[in-house]
């Protein structure tokens, strides 16, 4: 097994301006079906984009990309508690689309004894570079004892 050179996930290693990723993936129909079922989508089958005719996926299916981005640079830690989130949906993702996602830590601060960080990230079509989704998560990082401080 190769040596893991990623830094430990802790406040000392979370700095404003740190860039994470990119990660690349192809949007899979299996994941889209599973996600649509899990969130109780009214229509469990794929919806056709009236503009392009392509099958599109639920809007927050790749919201979890923030965790994949963090894992490109940092390891371990006790996890975090999701505090805030925003998303701008520019274009829907479609089945079979190649996507590139990358992000930047835009804030890292202590407030009332808790350590917060904000990671802004955006997903683009990997071929055309067209912006699909821009979003940001603000999370409270749990300390090495698993506490919220």
């Amino acid at each position: 097994m190769s040596e893991d050179k990623r830094l430990p996930m802790c406040p000392e290693n979370l700095h404003e301006g740190t860039r994470l990723g990119p990660i690349h993936y192809v949007v899979s129909p299996e994941q889209a079906r599973a996600f649509a079922n899990a969130v109780g989508a009214a229509n469990r089958d794929f919806i056709r984009d009236p503009k392009t005719g392509e099958a599109i996926v639920p809007p927050t299916m790749r919201l979890q990309d923030y965790a994949l981005l963090i894992a490109t640079h940092l390891k371990g830690g006790k996890g975090g508690v999701h505090a805030k989130h925003w998303c701008e949906f520019h274009e829907p993702m479609h089945i079979g689309q190649a996507v590139k996602t990358e992000g930047t830590i835009t804030a890292a601060f202590r407030k009332r004894g808790k350590f917060y960080f904000t990671l802004e990230y955006e997903s683009r079509d990997a071929v055309t570079d067209r912006l699909l989704v821009r979003q940001a998560i603000t999370s409270v990082l749990l300390n090495d004892k698993g506490e919220m401080r």
């Binding site: 994941q31 649509a36 899990a38």
Partner: protein
């Protein structure tokens, strides 16, 4: 995203069907997302009583993004392409969701731009006790895709 016809007028309120966020729903959600591969297993606030207690919760809690996904899907089902192409969402998770909680998503149209291009919504999710577990805002386009 089957966008049932919704009248977009100031003050209109839209309410979802109940969504039971139990362990089975969390498992299904986990199968619909891609998570990082971990070299060592980690007990988390989502599946371990002690980890949840250490973090200040009475029991394991649902992932915040699961609740966000539920209301985002409600908006997508209600407004279709008006939301998924050119829409936005901004939320705060205000209270933990415990497994077994029943969630109702709500949206109220608060403002329609003077140019008639966009509508702004207040959105929130309540549990079965009427407590708000998520609050925020959203925007949709008024025109079709």
């Amino acid at each position: 995203m089957s966008a049932a016809p919704v009248e977009i007028r100031l003050g209109a309120e839209i309410v979802s069907q109940p969504y039971v966020l139990d362990a089975a729903a969390a498992k299904a959600y986990g199968e619909g997302i891609e998570s990082p591969v971990r070299r060592a297993s980690r007990r988390s606030i989502h599946d371990d009583k002690d980890a949840a207690r250490n973090a200040g919760f009475v029991a394991p809690i649902a992932a915040g993004e699961h609740t966000i996904a539920v209301i985002a899907q409600f908006l997508a089902d209600t407004f279709g392409m008006r939301f998924v192409r050119g829409g936005r969402l901004s939320v705060a998770l205000t209270k933990p969701v415990l497994f077994g909680d029943i969630l109702i998503s709500r949206a109220r149209i608060e403002r329609i731009d003077l140019d008639g291009e966009r509508a702004e919504l207040k959105i929130w999710v309540e549990n079965q006790r009427g407590e708000e577990v998520l609050v925020g805002s959203a925007a949709i386009r008024m025109g079709q895709a």
